[in-house]
Amino acid sequence: MKPAHPGWLLLLGTVVALAAPKPDAPDAYLNVPAAGNIVAVPISTPGDVFLPPPIIDIPQDKAGDMIKLGRLIFTDTPRYARRFTGNALSCSNCHLSEGRKPGAAPLWAAWGMYPMPSAQPGEVWSFESRIQGCFRYSQNGQGPQLDSPEMTALVAYAQWLSTGAPARTELAGRGMFQQETLAGRALTSASKPVYSASHGQKIYQFQCAVCHGADGLGVMRKDNSYQFPPLWGQASYGGGSALAQVSKLALFVRANMPLGRGGSLSETEANDVAAYILSKPRPPDPRTGWRQRWREARR
């Protein structure tokens, strides 16, 4: 049989597109464009994700300068917050798309939720102490002082990104660990997962190694900054960060990786890849002493 003429396919596509019902989005919560955009993730209802302001909306004054500095620190931390950084990672290596991407702990969803009760009883996290924790564990460095320009700039950037986001309101796309649905499917099953690092190694070589390198050490630009971040080794995040836990790393991988194809790995694959990544050496948790580190190294 003769294959269909392309024109017929085009006509069919047009008819389908016109017949599809259009979701009406409220104005503050704009629809995320679907194609050609790494910001877009599958969302259950179109139009239910908050859209932060574009960077051309940063005001041209001293407050705007601080916001711009915060953005530079966020996207190139080893360069612009050098005195507090201990490895090669930037904030935006986990908080993807400059802290905008839903499902990758976007800043606009986090800002309004702090101060919040922490896991330890008697302790309340402020946004600033949370940033300090990021620097200490994920950047393997030191927390910036509360009155340092780095801290003010990061807070200003987060507050500006959440322009129009309501305070103390759970926004869709918040965090990366939520047990909710992604594209209508449950992110985690109820049963306790079994991790297979050897299976994870195969998945890693097939899905991740093209960017992060077969050795997991990332891809470096000519100016020694990283194009793709290292996943283990001394230049990567420390053992005290949240993504050093298999379950949380699996959720991050599931929601965001491979870059631009979040949600494509199955739960088992994400778990196995996470187990493989975390079986590799990385900087130790700064809260632990040498004895515990020695025990972990021997294990």
Partner: protein, 299 residues
């Protein structure tokens, strides 16, 4: 009356209020009391003046707080806010509370309410020519308006007040300029007269604040029922209230208590200048000489 009569009365009231709730949008549907703010003399303290009833942002109520660590921190912040010399004795230097200026526990529109301030920070302030976070702004209040010491940014006092302000701003949108923010605008082309101001003060202010501006002590002899407006126990020469136009804007919107917007701009300016010319603590940023020159010249 028996409980069921109360229930019947409540249902009847609800039925009668239903057209009210349907005629307008959310403030009435959620809080019918918002519709009564104009007619209710007690509500004038908090809801004054409304161009259209229900137009103001309505902060949450205290009994909505959960009883977890965060809720306790917010409650502590409120306690500090309304009883600063007792609850923050390390840092308060005079007899004023935060709520002496931020009336109604920081809720009253046109008295620099916390719910309208929180979404605007971090922001640039000309006072110190820098971008300040909310915490730094609180430090300035302690230093100038409280005539005390700046609490460290990681201190419990700062964290509690920040948590309280952020909770009051629940649901307000980040970066949103809410009606009622700051003080009421005043005319800029007014020539104030301290002589007229003295007359206005003795007629309209001295009843509560005392003929010598010394305020009125509460029954325990320590706290103030009505705050002093000059003398040793009030804000110093570095506070925003020391600026005539700022003080006039605050006075116009809020004084005499419960009858805000009753003074004409001219009289508000006169009283503000009269307050400025009286004795009060020195500006901590300045040395003896420049402070004395301010005392001698008045400016």
């Amino acid at each position: 009356m028996k409980p069921r009569y109360f229930a019947a009365l409540g249902i009847l009231t609800g039925v009668l209020a239903m057209p009210l709730a349907q005629a307008h949008d959310w403030p009435y549907a959620q809080r019918p009391s918002a519709a009564m703010a104009l007619g209710d003399p007690l509500g004038k303290l908090v809801g004054d003046p409304l161009r259209r009833a229900g137009e103001r942002f309505i902060p949450p109520e205290l009994n909505e707080l959960p009883n977890n660590d965060w809720g306790k921190l917010v409650r502590l912040g409120r306690d500090i806010f309304i009883d600063t010399p007792t609850r923050a004795p390390k840092f308060a230097g005079n007899g004023l509370n935060c709520s002496s200026c931020h009336l109604g526990e920081g809720r009253k529109p046109d008295a620099a309410p916390m719910w309208a301030a929180w979404p605007m920070y971090p922001t640039y302030r000309g006072k110190n020519d820098d971008v300040n976070t909310f915490q730094m702004r609180i430090q300035d209040c302690f230093r100038f308006s409280m005539d005390g010491l700046m609490p460290p940014l990681q201190s419990t006092e700062i964290r509690a007040i920040t948590a309280y302000a952020q909770w009051l701003a629940r649901g307000s949108k980040s970066g949103q300029i809410l009606p009622g923010r700051g003080f009421t605008p005043v005319k800029r082309d007014i020539e104030p007269s301290a002589d007229r101001g003295r007359v206005v003060y003795q007629m309209k202010c001295a009843l509560c604040h005392g003929h010598n501006g010394e305020g009125v002590k509460a029954a325990d002899g320590k706290r103030y029922q009505f705050p002093p407006v000059w003398g040793d126990d009030t804000f110093n020469r570095g506070a925003g209230m020391y600026t005539v136009r700022t003080a006039a804007a605050w006075i116009k919107g809020n004084m005499p208590l419960g009858r805000g917007m009753s003074l004409p701009d001219q009289e508000a300016f006169d009283v503000a200048l009269y307050l400025r010319l009286n004795d009060r603590p020195m500006d901590p940023r300045k040395g003896l000489i420049s402070n004395w020159s301010r005392v001698m010249t008045g400016f």
